[in-house]
């Protein structure tokens, strides 16, 4: 599958960038020469990486990267420029993280294609921590053909039970994909998916035990997360759905719109619900494939 790479530079220089990337059969460079046209293209085209110069006729490369982070926060970007970092004005762009590739380096052109493929393949600029064996985890997740498995009714009943049992406003079962969390069942809200870096689950899945956040405003990891606030999430408890090979593929969660504690008993209960959800998924998968259920 070809990868659409947006190349932004002045009219005099953009051809060089495009011809460098055209040598790679996997890459399909799209050239534009202004901030305005770059932002339009980001909105309209399935771009998987942006390579931009710093100085442009109607702004800078940071304007484009800032817009990219708003539109598609997990799409990587590379500032390919001969302007040194010390000369780049970052006023207003304090937390717009970008890969900097110095165009003055002797091997800059050779490196560009490699760097573009590398940042795409490794989701190298995401705003969350992924486990070191993330590729193995995603392979495990891919083994479950969730779209085809009849788990919806069972999971709906389970989230109803969790919300009732733990007396929370929202309960859900979510699978954590490469870039987003997909909700298979949700009681108390109507959510389909969330960008992974906006979720608490992407933190919770890294913990061995049930993770509890009693008040997101009191936790610096989440207090600036506007998406959580928009959804009314104030308190959180999440338990791992762990596949038989030990990989965590999803979360079973209880949320509330107010700060609250979760007792040791409640955490244990949530963990048991998570294990039940995993067993349902396993059983359905086994029945569907006519195979045996892992113990």
């Amino acid at each position: 599958m070809t990868r659409n790479v947006l190349c932004v530079d002045t009219a005099e220089r953009v051809t060089d960038v495009v011809s460098t990337l055209e040598d790679d059969d996997q890459l399909a460079p799209i050239s534009v020469t202004s901030v305005e046209s770059a932002i339009e293209t980001i909105v309209q085209e399935p771009i998987v990486c942006v390579v931009t110069a710093y100085d442009l006729s109607d702004g800078t490369g940071l304007d484009i990267i800032d817009a990219l982070k708003s539109e598609s926060p997990q799409t990587p970007s590379i500032l390919f420029t001969d302007v040194s970092p010390g000369e780049i004005d970052t006023t207003g762009f304090d937390e717009v993280i970008v890969e900097y590739l110095n165009r003055d380096l002797p091997d800059a052109d050779d490196r560009l294609g490699f760097v573009v493929n590398d940042v795409i393949e490794h989701s190298a600029q995401v705003g969350f921590l992924a486990p070191e064996d993330e590729d193995d985890r995603l392979e495990t997740l891919a083994e479950y053909d969730v779209e085809e498995l009849p788990v919806e009714e069972s999971f709906d009943r389970l989230t109803d039970l969790i919300a009732d049992h733990l007396d929370v406003a929202v309960s859900f079962i979510g699978l954590i994909e490469k870039d987003e969390e997909n909700f298979l069942a949700c009681t108390g809200a109507d959510w389909d998916s969330l960008t992974r870096e906006d979720t608490i689950c992407t933190h919770s899945m890294l913990q061995e035990d049930v993770m509890v956040v009693e008040d997101i405003d009191a936790d610096s990891r989440f207090s600036e997360n506007q998406q959580l606030k928009n959804l009314g999430i104030v308190s959180y408890a999440g338990a791992n759905m762990t596949a038989p090979n030990g990989q965590v593929i999803g979360q079973v969660c209880a949320l509330d719109h107010e700060p609250r504690e979760f007792s040791a008993h409640e955490r244990d209960t949530l963990q048991q619900y998570a294990e039940t959800a995993m067993e349902i998924l396993e059983l359905r998968q086994a029945v569907d494939s006519g195979g045996e259920v892992a113990q």
Partner: protein
């Protein structure tokens, strides 16, 4: 064949003394001075290596001094990025504002790229990542910074990286939970506990089992 020929790095503190290239280490402890000494012993360049250090709480001269304490001359074999001036020499880059992660990330990447033009092997370090987390508004930006620069540089090059967290820092979060998250995305973890000159290191991820060693630094 020497250890460096085998493509790894020598770390005197560890029982095995050998660490694979590309290894990232989370270094955690609540005694900042002990943490600094262990950090220096991990990051100080040996022969045919170079160090790239992001120092959040020290100037270039202080960083050179602690590296020289580990190995005479290691301080000169280091490119240092700091927000505490003045810039002394070509290899000290001073930025104005630690919370400007955009500049910090670009400068750090640029330093690693420059070092890789002349040295195949480098040791990189952040002292202290907890200060970065404290400085920025949104912790996700620090994770993005670690992914974009620190971990990416290690994946692409012959490098050893150390990310230090002072667990006594007031970060308004569940520090154990945050450390578990950081640990999961790195290769190994060293927890530092000090008692006078004696420093106890708990090592995780360097072998099949957790191990505790005592060091005098």
């Amino acid at each position: 064949m020497s250890l460096s020929d085998a493509g790894g790095f020598t770390v005197d503190l560890l029982p095995d003394e050998h660490v694979e290239s590309g290894t990232s280490i989370l270094l955690a402890g609540d005694d900042t001075e002990a943490l600094k000494r262990v950090f220096a012993s991990l990051v100080a360049a040996k022969e045919s290596e170079y160090s790239v250090v992001l120092a959040t709480n020290s100037g270039g001269r202080a960083v050179r001094r602690i590296l020289d304490d580990v190995r005479a001359g290691a301080g000169q074999d280091a490119a240092i990025l700091t927000c505490e001036g003045p810039a002394r020499g070509d290899d000290v880059t001073v930025i104005d504002d630690l919370s400007d992660l955009t500049t910090l990330g670009m400068e750090f990447s640029n330093l690693v790229s420059q070092v890789n033009q002349t040295n195949d092997r480098f040791r990189s370090g952040i002292f202290l990542c907890s200060t970065l987390i404290d400085e920025v508004e949104d912790t996700r930006s620090v994770y993005r910074f670690l992914n974009t620069t620190f971990l990416t540089d290690l994946r692409r090059n012959e490098g050893l990286g150390v990310c230090a967290v002072d667990t006594s820092a007031s970060l308004e979060t569940d520090i154990d939970s945050m450390l578990t998250g950081l640990e999961t995305s790195m290769t190994a973890r060293i927890d530092v506990e000090s008692d006078g000159d004696k420093i106890e290191l708990t090592l995780t991820g360097f072998g099949p089992t957790e191990e505790t060693v005592t060091a005098r630094l």
